[in-house]
Symmetry: C2
C-alpha cells in the first residue's frame, strides 16, 4: 500500500472514541472537526450513540463503509481485537496509540509481533504502537492526540516534523509555531514496528507543499527508506535535518584488536547522513535555528558574507563569528569600496565589515545607499545586517524597507542580528530572517550554506543490504597478508619458519635485513609481549631472536606455530586501513594514522562504500596528518593513490561477503606507494 | 584618585547641557532626575538659564561648588577647553563623550594626548573620549547618554556590564533586562585613554551589590588592572565573564622559524584570562546565557547531573548534551534507585535519567516524590528537569512548587528545560533558571560549573611588566645550546669542526655515531637544505658528508663557519619547548609536539609564567600526544619532569631580560629524560 492513504485518508474510524475532547480518544475527533477534515469520521464506542456531534458506532462492522484509516485509541489489552477487526474489514492503515508493547519487554514484544502478523495477512499497515499519531494540517487529517495542538494552535505551513517520539514531534512544532512559522505535517510513529520514520519521510517529502523536513530518530533501523526519502528530497530541493539521539550511548564497538574497534556506530550514522545530504542536528535548537532562512528558498552563490552595522563592535564580533563558523568575510572589489567611500562620512569604514557609525542617526538614507553596493559586488554572496542598538532616533522601519528592496533587487540572502525585539519585528514584517545576535545569525547561515553544499555533493546511492551477526574466525598474519595481497595490496616478502635455520636462510634473500614475529592468531598485541624483533641483519641476531621468541611463547602458554620472517621495509609513515561490516549499514572502511596511535590518539576517518579516489583524498585531508598528503616543508606528498588502493581492496573483501573485518596496521606509506607491514583478517565462520 | 568618585559622585556638572531630554547633552540630566540621583546636578550652557527644571550655568566658574565629576557633552572641537576648565577648578573626573580622537587618526590622537596632559597636571581622571558614559543605577549616577535606558527601562540588580564599546555595554544590558534580570552598573569607557575597562572593573567589583561582572573589550592594554579586578572578584566570589573580540584578526605572529611563530596573540589572552579565573565568552550569547544560574549564588559540589523528565526523548537528548558539554550523568546509589523504583510505576525508568513518563498525568505528586530521592543522593550535584510537553492536564504549577521546595531543602542547583513559555514562566516565578531546550540548559550549567572551577584553581598573580619591542639577534645552534645547557637542559656532546679531520676525531669519542650540521645562524631550516646528516658511524661517512655540507653551503652562498658535530642521541619522541616575550603579557612558554609537526600539524600548549610542574603536566595532558605522558600500550610514560625542567629554563632565560625568544626543537624526550637536539635563541641586541 502506498502511504499516501495515511496522509490523505478519505475516511477515518476511531476505536475508543471519547465524548471528552480532552481525552486521547476524543482529541483526534476534535482536531479533525476543528481543522476542517473533509472526509468521513466514524467514532466507535459501544457506550455511546453520539460522540462530539457525530454518529457513534457499536463496532467496525456497524460503520457504513470501509474506512481508509483507523485510529486505535483503546487500552493495550484491547488493541489486538481492534486490529483483527480492521484487517478483516479491509482497513488500509491503523494508527496504534497504546503503549506497553516492544518498548516494555518480552510480553509486549510478542503482542506487537502478533499485531504485525495480523496486519500482514491483508497488507494492512501499522503506525505505532506507542504512537502519538499523525497530523496532516493541510487536509485536517489529524490522527493524533497531542495536546500541543491546543497549546500552540496550528498554522498550515511548509515545515514537516516527523519523529518516533511524540514529544520530539511537537517540540520543534511548538518552537516553530512560537516563532510564527507554519507547520504542515507533524507525525510521531512510536515504535516503528511497521511504518518507520524513514518510510513516512519518503512519502511526506513528495508533498509539494513541504519545503523543509525535520526528523527525530532514536534508532535508525530503516536506512533504505531514509536513502529514498533523501533522494526524493534532493530532487525537490527540500532540505532534511535529522536529530539522531543517543550519540553518548553509542560507545566504541566491543574492544577488539582490529580496526573495527575504533569506529563507533555513531560515526557510521554521521557518514550515512552526510552521504545522503541530510544535516545532522546536534540538539533540538539545530533542528529549528535556521528554519526562517531555509524557508526563503534562497540558493546563495557561496559563503562570502558582507556585514553592515551601525556599531564597530558588531563589525568585529561578526568577523569573529564568520571565522568561528567557517564562513568567509567577503573582500569587496576596489570599485565597491570606492563607491561606499563616496556614500559614507569620512570616519566610517568602507571595507567589509561596513561600520556606518552613528552617522545613521543624521541620515537614515545611508543604509539604503550602502546596501546596493554590496548587492552589485559579485564577491558578496550573503548580507548580514547588525543593529545592536536602536531607538526613537533611528528609522528602522525604513531600514527594513530598504533591506526588503535589496532582496527583491539582488536575490541575495540577508539576515538581521538585533537584540531588540521591536527592531527584529520591523524586519520580520518584511519576511526577513532575524536573530538576536550576530553569533546566532552566522551560525544559522553556516548551517544553511553547508547543508546546501552537502546536498549538492551528496552521492546518495542505494543501501547495501545489511547482514546479520555471524561468528568470525581470525586468520594469522601470514594468511591475512595473503588475502589482501590477492586484492592488490603490496605486502613484504615473508616466510613461516619452523626453525632458526629456516629464518637464517630467509635472511640471505633480504638485503635490508628481516623482522621476526611470533606466528599466532592468539596474540593480538605481539610487540607489547616482545614477540616482534626488527632490523635483524646477521645470522647470529636471527638465531638469538628466534630462540627468544620461541621461549617467550612457551612462557605465555601459546602454541608454537613457527615464526614469521619478513623483509625489512623502507621507512615510511604508519597508516591504518581497515574495515568491518556494520549490521545495518553494511561495509565500513576506515583510513587514518596507524601504529600505536590508533587507540590512544585516534586520527581516522570512516567511509561507507562505494567510494572514489577523491572521497579517500577528502578523507585524508580531514586527518590531522592530512598535510603529509600535500607535502610538508618541501617533502614529497605521501601517496594517496596507494592508500585508496588499499581501502578499495578492503571494501572489496568486505563486499564479497566472506570477510567480516580487515585491519591493515601499519600500512607503511611513502611518496611512492604503500606496503602492508601487518594485517589481521576476520573471516565468516561456517 | 580612587575611582569610587566616578561611581558615586556627590555632584555632577554637564558641559553642553541640553533642554531636550532626547539629546546627548539632555539625556544624562533626564536619567539622573528620573533615577533619583541624590547629588547636585549642574547644567552648563551659555544659551540657557534653566535646563530640564534645573538652574543652568554660564560656565564652570559660575557653578556654586566644585563638582566631583563633569560630563563633557560638547562637540569635539570644544572638548579641550572644557577639560582645561575642569582641571583648573579641581574637578576629579571627566566623562568625555565626543568622538573623533585617537580612533580617528593622527590629529585626533594628538588632541587626546593633549587632553591627558591637561588632566595629568592636577591628577584629574578622564573616561573616554568617545565614551557613551557611565551608569550606576544603584545611586542614579547616570553620566551616560544611551537610548537603551529608554528602550529597556532599568531595574536595579546584581549584574555589572563594563565595555569599551557603547553598543556592547547596552547589548548585554538589554538582553538581561528583556529576561527580567536587574543590572546595577552599565559603563562604556570608549577609547580607554586614561581610565580603562580593567581599572573600572577593579573598582566595580568592590561594590557589594555586584554579583556578576560582564566585560567587553576590543583591546587588552591594561592586564595589570584586570588581574587586580579578577583577584578582588575571586575574593568576593563574583564571576567575571569577558568577551574579547577580534579573535579572527589576531593572526599568527609574523612568520619566523622559531617557536614564537606558533603562538597567536589570541591564545595568550586565553591563557591570561584563564590564569585569573575570567571566563572568556566566544560571543554575545555566552556573556548572558548562564546569568540566571550565576545569580543564584549556588556552589555545586561537582558536575554530576540528575535528569528528571516526563519524556524519554528528553532523557536521551539530555544525556547527549551532558556528554557534549563535558558534564557527567550522575550514577545513582543503589538505595536511590530502589527508592525511586518504589515511587514510580513499573514501566518508568528509575535509573538516571529518570523518565517519569505520562504517568505524571494521573499522579501530579510523582514529581515531588522523585525529586527528594535525587536530593538525598550524594552522587548528585545538580538537577535538570525537562518538560518538553505540557498542557492543561499537567499541574506544572505544582511541579514548580515541588522544585522550589527541593532547592530550599537540598541547596542543589536546579534548572528547567521547557520549550513552552507558560511552563518556563511557572518555574521562573519561583526564581528557578529556565531554558528553552535541554541543550541550552546543559550548556549554561557547563559554563557555570567550569567557570567556578576555573576561579577556584586560578593562580592569579601580578602581571610581569611588559617590554617594548627591541631588536634581536639569533645565536647559532652551538651558542644556543650552550645557553640552555647553562640553565640545566641536557644537550648532546658537540664540537664545531673546521675540517673533516676534526669531525673524524670527534667521532672517535662518540660510540653511537655522530650528526653533522652546517653551523650557521643564517639557515633556519637546515634539514630541508640537506645540511643535516645523521647516524654517521665511520670515518669515511664523516669525511664524505662533511665535504657535501661544505659544498652545499658554498652553492647557497652561505659563509662557511664550520660544521657542528654532535653525538647521536638515543631515539625518543620529538617535542618542542620554546618561548618569547609578549609585549603586553611578558614571557610566554610553549610546549608541544616537535619536529616537522610544529607548523603543519600544530599540537602545543601555551603557558604564562610562572608555572609549576603540575601546570606543565596539565598542559601536556591537553596535547594530542598527551597519552604518551601516561604510557600507551604498556610503554613507560614520557618524562614530564624533564619537559618541565626545559620549560622552566626557557622561562628563566626570558625572565632575566637578555633573551627575546627560545626554540628547543626537537627536545628528544624519553621515559628517562629529555635532551635538546637543536635550539635557537634570540638575544636582545645592544
Amino acid at each position: 500500500m502506498c502511504l499516501s492513504t495515511l496522509l490523505n485518508p478519505a475516511s477515518v474510524a476511531i476505536f475508543g472514541a471519547s465524548r471528552n475532547p480532552e481525552k486521547i480518544g476524543g482529541r483526534p475527533i476534535r482536531f479533525m472537526k476543528e481543522m476542517g477534515f473533509a472526509g468521513a469520521i466514524y467514532p466507535i464506542n459501544p457506550q455511546h450513540e453520539e460522540v462530539q456531534g457525530l454518529t457513534c458506532y457499536l463496532n467496525l462492522d456497524a460503520v457504513p463503509e470501509v474506512p481508509d484509516a483507523a485510529i486505535i485509541a483503546v487500552p493495550k489489552d484491547r488493541v489486538l481485537e481492534a486490529i483483527e477487526a480492521c484487517a478483516t474489514r479491509g482497513v488500509k492503515v491503523c494508527v496504534v496509540m497504546a503503549s506497553g508493547f516492544s518498548e516494555a519487554g518480552a510480553e509486549g514484544k510478542a503482542a506487537e509481533q502478533k499485531m504485525l502478523a495480523i496486519a500482514a495477512r491483508t497488507g494492512m499497515r501499522i503506525v505505532g504502537p506507542n504512537s502519538q499519531g499523525l497530523a496532516n494540517f493541510h487536509n485536517g487529517a489529524i490522527l493524533n492526540f497531542s495536546t500541543m495542538f491546543i497549546e500552540e494552535p496550528p498554522k498550515v505551513g511548509p515545515v514537516a516534523c516527523i519523529s518516533q517520539s511524540g514529544a520530539m514531534s511537537v517540540v520543534p512544532y511548538g518552537m516553530l509555531r512560537q516563532r510564527g512559522i507554519g507547520v504542515g505535517h507533524c507525525h510521531a510513529t512510536g515504535n516503528d514496528a511497521d511504518v518507520t520514520v524513514s518510510e513516512l519521510a519518503a512519502e511526506v517529502v513528495l508533498d509539494p507543499k513541504v519545503k523543509l523536513c525535520i526528523l527525530y530518530m532514536e534508532s535508525l533501523r530503516d536506512p533504505k527508506n531514509l536513502a529514498i526519502a533523501a533522494e526524493r528530497a534532493r530532487e525537490r530541493g527540500v532540505p532534511i535535518i535529522a536529530l539522531k539521539s543517543g550519540r553518548s550511548a553509542h560507545g566504541k564497538r566491543a574492544a577488539a584488536s582490529h580496526t573495527g574497534a575504533i569506529a563507533t556506530e555513531d560515526r557510521v550514522i554521521d557518514a550515512f547522513l552526510e552521504r545522503h545530504g541530510i544535516w545532522r542536528a546536534e540538539g533540538t535548537e539545530a533542528l529549528v535555528q535556521a528554519a526562517e532562512i531555509y524557508l526563503q528558498g534562497w540558493r546563495p552563490t557561496g559563503k562570502r558574507i558582507a556585514v553592515v552595522s551601525n556599531s564597530g563592535a558588531t563589525c568585529v564580533l561578526s568577523a569573529d563569528a564568520i571565522e568561528r563558523y567557517g564562513m568567509e568575510l567577503a573582500q569587496f572589489s576596489p570599485e565597491t569600496e570606492e563607491s561606499i567611500r563616496q556614500v559614507l562620512p569620512d570616519f566610517a569604514a568602507s571595507k567589509n565589515p561596513i561600520d556606518i557609525t552613528a552617522a545613521l542617526l543624521t541620515d537614515s538614507g545611508l543604509f539604503g545607499k550602502v546596501l546596493p553596493r554590496t548587492g552589485e559586488d559579485a564577491e558578496v554572496d550573503i548580507l548580514m545586517i547588525g543593529i545592536p542598538v536602536s531607538g526613537k532616533a533611528y528609522d528602522f522601519d525604513r531600514f527594513a524597507q530598504d533591506t526588503a528592496d535589496f532582496i527583491r533587487t539582488y536575490g541575495k540572502p540577508v539576515v538581521l542580528a538585533a537584540p531588540q525585539r521591536d527592531v527584529r519585528a520591523a524586519f520580520a514584517r518584511h519576511g526577513i530572517p532575524t536573530f538576536e545576535t550576530e553569533d546566532s545569525a552566522i551560525r544559522a547561515l553556516a548551517q544553511f550554506t553547508d547543508h546546501l553544499a552537502m546536498m549538492q555533493q551528496a552521492p546518495g546511492g542505494a543501501v547495501t543490504p545489511a547482514q546479520t551477526s555471524v561468528a568470525g574466525a581470525t586468520l594469522d598474519e601470514y594468511a591475512s597478508l595473503d588475502l589482501i595481497a590477492a586484492k592488490g595490496v603490496a605486502v613484504p616478502l615473508r616466510q613461516i619458519c619452523g626453525t632458526a635455520q629456516d629464518a637464517q636462510a630467509f635472511l640471505a634473500t633480504c638485503p635490508n635485513g628481516i623482522v621476526l614475529k611470533a606466528s599466532s592468531a592468539e596474540v593480538p598485541h605481539k610487540s607489547e609481549h616482545g614477540l616482534v624483533r626488527i632490523g635483524l641483519k646477521t645470522p647470529e641476531d636471527v638465531a638469538r631472536n628466534f630462540a627468544e621468541i620461541e621461549a617467550k611463547m612457551g612462557e605465555m602458554g601459546v602454541a608454537f606455530e613457527g615464526v614469521l620472517a619478513a623483509e625489512m621495509l623502507a621507512s615510511g609513515r604508519e597508516l591504518v586501513v581497515g574495515g568491518y561490516i556494520d549490521p545495518v549499514f553494511g561495509p565500513v572502511v576506515i583510513v587514518g594514522e596507524g601504529g600505536v596511535a590508533v587507540e590512544a590518539m585516534p586520527d581516522n576517518q570512516l567511509l561507507l562504500t562505494p567510494f572514489s579516489l577523491s572521497d579517500i583524498e577528502a578523507a585524508l585531508t580531514k586527518l590531522r596528518i592530512g598535510p603529509l598528503f600535500k607535502g610538508v616543508r618541501g617533502a614529497r606528498p605521501l601517496n594517496a593513490q596507494a592508500v585508496f588502493q588499499a581501502a578499495r581492496s578492503v571494501a572489496e573483501l568486505l563486499g564479497e561477503g566472506a570477510v567480516l573485518s580487515v585491519d591493515i596496521n601499519p600500512l607503511i606509506t611513502t611518496p611512492d606507494g604503500a606496503t602492508a607491514a601487518d594485517a589481521l583478517v576476520e573471516i565468516r565462520q561456517g
